[in-house]
Symmetry: C2
Subunit: 434 residues, 2 copies
Amino acid sequence: MSDGDVLYSPIDLWHNSFPITNINIIMKIFLKSTLLTLVSLLILSATLVAQQPARPGAPAQRPAFRMPARIVSPEILPDNKVIFRLYSKDAAKVTISGEWQSGFGASETLARNDTGLFSITIGPLKPELYSYTFTIDGVRAIDPGNVQVRRDGLNYQSYFIIPGAESDLYVQKNGVPHGTVSKVWYTSSVLETDRRVYVYTPASYGTVKQKYPVLYLFHGAGGDEDAWTNMGRAAQIMDNLIAQGKTKPMIVVMTNGNANQAGAQNDVPPLASQGEQGMAAYAKYAGKFEEHLVKDVVPFIEKNYRTLKGKDNRAIAGLSMGGGHTQTITNNNPGMFSYIGVFSMGIMNFGMQSDEAAKMDQEREVKIEALKNSGYKLYWIAVGKDDFVYQSVVTLRNLLDKHNFKYIYRESTGGHTWTNWRIYLSEFTPMLFK
Amino acid sequence: MSDGDVLYSPIDLWHNSFPITNINIIMKIFLKSTLLTLVSLLILSATLVAQQPARPGAPAQRPAFRMPARIVSPEILPDNKVIFRLYSKDAAKVTISGEWQSGFGASETLARNDTGLFSITIGPLKPELYSYTFTIDGVRAIDPGNVQVRRDGLNYQSYFIIPGAESDLYVQKNGVPHGTVSKVWYTSSVLETDRRVYVYTPASYGTVKQKYPVLYLFHGAGGDEDAWTNMGRAAQIMDNLIAQGKTKPMIVVMTNGNANQAGAQNDVPPLASQGEQGMAAYAKYAGKFEEHLVKDVVPFIEKNYRTLKGKDNRAIAGLSMGGGHTQTITNNNPGMFSYIGVFSMGIMNFGMQSDEAAKMDQEREVKIEALKNSGYKLYWIAVGKDDFVYQSVVTLRNLLDKHNFKYIYRESTGGHTWTNWRIYLSEFTPMLFK
């Protein structure tokens, strides 16, 4: 399929509008059918429309009768090049920013043909999940041709997967048993509100009436309880690893790491306490998330799910801010979690020499010693060579080394990215509960 | 807040990039703090960023220190007027299309000020949930300033709620007990695939170990298992009605009504069978969804959830195509569901007089008679005066009248819209299981 073949009349399904103009045509097709209700027509219409959209790798096909079509974007070619397309007869400039580009704020410009079809071919790309956005005359936008959209905090991005070994765990596969992702509400006595947590239960949970170990998994700053399943493909990674026998079936608990939120801001209205600004809000909540995790979340999960109890059946991990949460919680609660993962976060040292800083360092050393003696089984630290928190991880490792604290250090390429965090999750979970 | 006060430097959070430039400023603030990890900074940054975004009704506030801000859009004013804003120094024309407008393809044009801030004030609007999109130089886009986004099939829309009596059930409320929404996979022997279903269990399900009645709730053409919770606010409606004591606690089961899909196309890859075109795919699946609902879905739910059994504990309802599904299932299975809701769908009669059509009509009459004698408790039909399927509902009512089949008819204003379907759900569920 070349660009010239693209049907680029934008379809308008606004407000559930039905393509009435096609009814007469469809009626003739169905005239001798026994299926006479409009239901049939709606099904057919939906089917034909559904066959047109951007489905990576699926070429556009002309339907049996003329129907407005959607732009096919992105189109993944056999050699892993990717064509992006956008139709606008009025736009002057369209650029694309995507995760395959390097450098902050990088973008590429789409070429416009004489009908108003903008397109660009990039790659070939290595197998991975890539997000991207268009910028249309200065406004960042998702690709209207691509139904695959994810939310990164306040921002929406289109994405696609280049299939292959490196991205295989991220693909939602027909035929692989899928766990359940539930949006569950619990009461936090510490934070004095009901809060939302995502709970992944493995596919076998519904049928095998055994008890399961639990991984508590934290997102980073700007994220929320939706981040690990949305940005991090946690459900697909767990489904696929469990199906391959590499990871033990476990429950994964992903709660909102922002102490001042009840839930993700796209779904859940802000708490009254969120009205407090800057330092006031910060002071109010310092350490509270970590405290509530231990006092509220773990008891809630262990009461309401078929869980194995004790430290050897509890794992904890988090990225960035969540890696800080993980350190704080495990330092403060030795003997509670035997499997600990710190992704892309260490100990920040701004060179301060105040008494308070020294006291905090001292307290941390005492806690590390206690954690060392608690009988944990795994302390796994991962960071990318290019991560801006890299030095903080060196500081953490130096502290642990000083105490002969055993840990596994995994240094990857790349920086502070979801690409790395997906990889870390897929490497960390096979080591748990074994 | 006037337009002139808007901070319109677009913030760039692309790729989880961290506003490094602020670290030095934040460091000074924290210099005497005991909280020395970067975690603190990330939390603070996230908090400050989070305080800036478009939160309907929340005015933008200048943070304690200078930080890039997001455009506030939409801003709901005390008199229920709404200001939309979009920043682009390059766009020539920006229009907005929203559910408050009437007429197919209606739009309004935003005004540009001399800095590139486009804005428009609309309303006042009556309390309701409204979706909208911008069109930026010919390209439809969500509002980059608004984190509230919903998906209507292939299309993404921004939305907001004007608070008030008419929209009160649609608001996710802090303090109201929230049910759990789970994305569950089940095996369909009829459709020969694993499929995804959304299951709402009421807030009490986790704590009150009783059995619950079940509502099977269907979406329309173009929708999927995500539609009733996403477009239809089903979780909020059920939470709020149950909290008010108006609706009995029940399980709500929302599966994918497209027989050729395993799940929503934004999350779940297409089945191989979806490659079949038009009539072939249609013929293969005719009636299969309805059959699988009875043979696969109901048994799965009744086995895996604490359900009350028997027809008096089963309700079924759907909109548009799902109203057709509801009719087919209840016609074919008298005595299975005592509570039946048909939203925005009747019987289509294209004036065909073929033998097959006559035979089908005749069979339907036999089935209606059997359903009448099955001891159902409620048959509720709802449609809008302006709905394009209105006449089909007249046909259905005439058929039911002919058989002295008791039903309740609810005629609303408006057309074939989610606005109506939310209202219908909020009116239908209080009548169930009583």
